[in-house]
């Protein structure tokens, strides 16, 4: 038996508009570019919906209707779901229809497509919980297999997933850690006892996601028939072929004119033609097979570039500066208990912001190797840091207001105590004629202080 476990990742960030130094303190909207360019989030979602989400979901629905054996997995960032709700509710409905068939599994994820695990585990946990609630609300299901932003993975992340009840976790099937072994088996993450790791078959996955439309590629044009035969070739040396890719590979990264939709439409039939070959969701895969060995990943592994690490996000000084500045705010932001501020801060954690600041290959002049809506990594950094500076300002304003309120409250309490003390004293030692005068002077001084503070507190005093 050989099964195929496809997983498509759906994500859009909230891109930061061209936010200038002059906007700090004057503009609290960072994500509302309306220019109809690649910084305009609504524009992008509508564009990608037309090119990718709508036509692809139509094909996927047809395939589910036609082939009862067909199954796959989806993962969504919370930021893309929010944008669907706001800009393209019909796209969200079409995803809900897919999931309602019961043959489409949704994976666990961070809500904000962040690298929080590597910077703050408590924040990471909050985002995973938030994501779980969102998925429950929109799709009525609870994810049981975890995938992290950019497929980033490390032994301790697997351990966290095991401790938190997940059955499986996804990772890149990278030669450095696999050695001679095949990615087409399940493995046990080092340091774990129960959880199983599903490894991406990067060769076959990238044939579709990256190479499909490349006319220079020796296998171009790739037919579903040929691709299915490559899958079938793993009969006997594997149990599960894990095809992990961006959902937007269909129609957005590979345009319709490459024939990608015809390929997708034909693939399940070609795969199923071979006896003993079928599809499984991630949970079904994890439940069906035992582990073949241990997968030991002490350093961060991702699905990016030839380096398969985080250097595309935190490889240079400005990237590390920006991400450190973001996570350094955690305590202050959380202390505000302001939903809007916390949510904005989290939107700034989305990994894409740091990716846009990548200079990794710019020294070779290969600036197009990285997609970015900004004209340069430095423009991305400036817009981001200015927005973050504004957020810091708002956070410290809230903190200052709170502090002022607290100290005003304390002043009231003190004053009341003084009055009580004075009254008590009056009862005992102070003569009746002195009493009103003393109380009056204490009151006058206190009221004067309050007037300089917040007017709301005055009413509190009157009540008191």
């Amino acid at each position: 038996m050989l099964t195929v476990c496809p997983y498509f990742h759906v994500h859009q960030p909230y891109r930061v508009k061209k936010y200038r130094v002059f906007d700090i303190g004057n503009d609290t909207e960072y994500f509302n570019d309306g220019s109809g360019t690649d910084l305009d989030n609504r524009f992008i979602v509508e564009k990608v919906a037309n090119k990718s989400y709508r036509p692809t979901n139509k094909v996927l629905k047809e395939l589910l209707d036609r082939h009862p054996e067909f199954r796959f997995n989806l993962s969504f960032s919370g930021t893309v779901l929010d944008q669907f709700e706001e800009y393209a509710p019909d796209v969200l409905e079409s995803f809900q229809e897919l999931v309602a068939t019961g043959r489409v599994e949704i994976l666990a994820d961070t809500y904000h497509h962040s690298l929080a695990f590597f910077y703050s585990v408590p924040e990471f946990e909050r985002q995973v919980k938030q994501h779980e609630r969102k998925i429950k609300k929109l799709f009525g299901v609870k994810p049981r297999v975890f995938r992290n932003t950019e497929l980033s993975y490390r032994n301790d992340l697997a351990k966290w997933c095991e401790d938190n009840g997940y059955l499986g976790i996804m990772a890149e099937g990278w030669d450095k850690y696999l050695g001679w072994r095949s990615p087409n088996y399940l493995y046990r993450p080092a340091g774990c006892n129960k959880i199983k790791v599903l490894l991406k078959n990067y060769k076959l996955s990238d044939d579709v996601a990256f190479r499909f439309g490349n006319k220079e590629w020796a296998s171009w044009p790739l037919s579903a028939d040929t691709f299915a035969s490559w899958i079938h070739a793993h009969h006997g040396d594997g149990q599960t072929v894990n095809l992990f890719m961006d959902y937007e590979s269909f129609g957005e990264h590979q345009w319709e004119d490459t024939g990608i939709f015809d390929f997708l439409r034909a693939l399940p039939e070609m795969v199923l033609r071979h006896p003993d070959t079928s599809f499984r969701t991630a949970t079904e895969t994890v439940e069906a097979y035992d582990v073949a060995g241990e997968y030991d990943v002490p350093d961060v592994l991702t699905w990016a570039d030839t380096d398969r690490d985080l250097t595309a996000w935190i490889g240079n000084d400005i990237q590390r500066d920006a991400i450190a500045a973001t996570y350094n705010m955690e305590q202050e932001v959380m202390r505000t208990r302001k939903k809007k501020l916390i949510e904005t801060w989290r939107k700034l954690q989305t990994s894409d912001h740091f990716y846009y600041m990548c200079t990794k290959w710019s020294n070779d002049g290969d600036v197009h190797a990285y997609f970015s809506p900004y004209q340069s990594p430095y423009d991305a950094y400036i817009a981001f840091m200015n927005a973050l500076s504004d957020l810091q300002l708002r956070v410290s304003q809230v903190a200052a207001e709170r502090k002022a309120k607290d100290s005003a409250k304390a002043a009231v309490t003190n004053a009341l105590e003084v009055i009580e003390d004075t009254e008590e004293m009056g009862d005992e030692v102070v003569s009746a004629s002195d009493r009103p005068k003393q109380i009056e002077s204490v009151l006058a001084a206190t009221v004067k202080r309050w007037r300089q503070r917040i007017s709301g507190v005055l009413s509190f005093f009157r009540r008191g």
């Binding site: 130094v21 400005i318 200079t359 710019s362 002049g365 400036i382 840091m385 500076s389």
Partner: protein, 408 residues
């Protein structure tokens, strides 16, 4: 392979960017086995490098002995220079004024004589003052001609009032050339559009640069730094081409936001008074310092002491300033209307007219020191891939393409 090259200036004689570019290219061509005969219009003491130098004012020349060429070769065609036309009985030089265009014609006349005397395979002429010489040499010998464009009449005039006499020389010479080399895609675009040179005839060869750090000078502006001021520098000629007025307008916006920023203007030119007046009328006198033109160690010292350099050029065929700044450990903001913007990834880039964005970039650079450090660090790495050797290899391929049917 032997090349007869015509240029206007060569270090160490007082020299602008053109002379240094000719030197960098010539040295690497020699390294790669190309023989270079470098013809200059006037005699000068031991030019740097191992090329064979020929001076067009010697021997063959009847009257003209010496042209007093300043460091600015791109003046208007009718601006005058002093020329020694001969000597009186007591040996005192007889000085007359000539226009640059007359001087360029004289150079061409000499070039045709020199070309007949020398043996070579290709002719290479740098910038408009040498184009006529290159064309004359071609007419005299029939050898293929390469014209090298370091600047055009359009850059100089920032697109207004282009000197018609220079434009005519450029246009006619480009038509006569077998190949035209430009120092940037930006300049290629100009000559394809304005001079109507077929794009296929134009090859872009970006200038090289010198990546090594310059020696550290004693810190300058210590008093300002002590007061916690941030300092932003403009360095270059003060002319319409250089966009200094846009820089001053951006400064107004910067100071509105942060009065602690100081601006230094280092250079001189025909717009100096206008710029001083503009600074005054915008109420920025307290925030501006004019140093006049500085060279060598003084200039390096200034560049090393400031936080940021701005090159706001309206039209800049290449632009050495950001590279010089990197050698001095300082990052730059450069205009998108420059050749440097094509090759240097590690600078902030802005349209010269977008003073709002220029101000944003200045303030952001000053706010975020990590970005300034990275611009310098990665900019220096990038400069190591931008050597004159690469440029010379490309130029050599241009020569070879012209000689492929020539059998010797």
């Amino acid at each position: 392979m032997r090349v007869l090259t015509f240029g206007w200036e060569f270090p160490p004689a007082q020299s602008g960017g053109l002379g240094f570019a000719c030197q960098g290219l010539t040295q690497e061509l020699l390294q790669s086995g190309v023989e270079v005969i470098f013809v200059l219009p006037k005699t000068q003491d031991s030019p740097y490098g191992n090329a064979r130098f020929v001076f067009a004012d010697q021997e063959r020349l009847l009257r003209v002995r010496h042209a007093d060429l300043g460091p600015i070769p791109y003046q208007q065609a009718n601006s005058t220079i002093d020329v020694i036309v001969g000597y009186d009985e007591s040996g005192k030089p007889i000085i007359k004024s000539r226009t640059i265009i007359e001087e360029a014609h004289r150079f061409a006349h000499q070039a045709s004589i020199i070309a007949r005397e020398e043996e070579f395979d290709v002719i290479h002429a740098h910038d408009w003052t040498s184009y006529l010489a290159g064309v004359a040499a071609k007419l005299a010998t029939g050898k293929p001609l390469v014209l090298h464009v370091h600047a055009t009449s359009f850059d100089q005039a920032a697109s207004n009032n282009v000197d018609p006499a220079i434009f005519k020389i450029e246009r006619e010479a480009f038509a006569m050339a077998d190949k035209v080399v430009t120092v940037s895609g930006y300049t290629k675009n100009i000559i394809v559009k304005k001079h109507e040179v077929p794009a296929a005839k134009v090859e872009v060869v970006h200038n090289g640069c010198h990546p090594e750090d310059l020696p550290r000078q004693a810190p300058a502006l210590a008093e300002l730094k002590k007061q916690g001021k941030k300092v932003v520098l403009y360095v270059g000629r003060i002319t319409i081409q250089k966009g200094v007025d846009h820089f001053v307008r951006a400064a107004r916006r910067v100071v509105d936001n942060d009065p602690n920023v100081m601006f230094v203007i280092c250079g001189s030119g025909d717009m100096t008074h206008q710029i001083i007046e503009l600074v005054g009328s915008l109420g920025l006198s307290k925030n501006f310092i004019f140093t006049g033109a500085l060279w060598f160690d003084d200039r390096d010292r200034l560049m090393q002491s400031v936080d940021l350099v701005v090159m706001p050029s309206v039209s800049e065929p290449f632009g050495l300033v950001p590279f010089e700044a990197l050698q001095n450990g300082t990052p730059s903001i450069i205009s998108k209307q420059s050749g440097a913007a094509e090759v240097l990834s590690h600078a902030l880039k802005v349209d010269f007219w977008d003073t709002e964005e220029m101000a944003n970039q200045i303030l952001s650079s000053l706010r975020y020191p990590v970005m300034r450090q990275q611009l310098v660090k990665e900019g220096k790495w990038q400069m190591f891939n931008m050597t004159w050797r690469h440029a010379a290899e490309k130029v050599k391929r241009v020569y070879q393409s012209l000689l492929q049917y020539v059998t010797t």
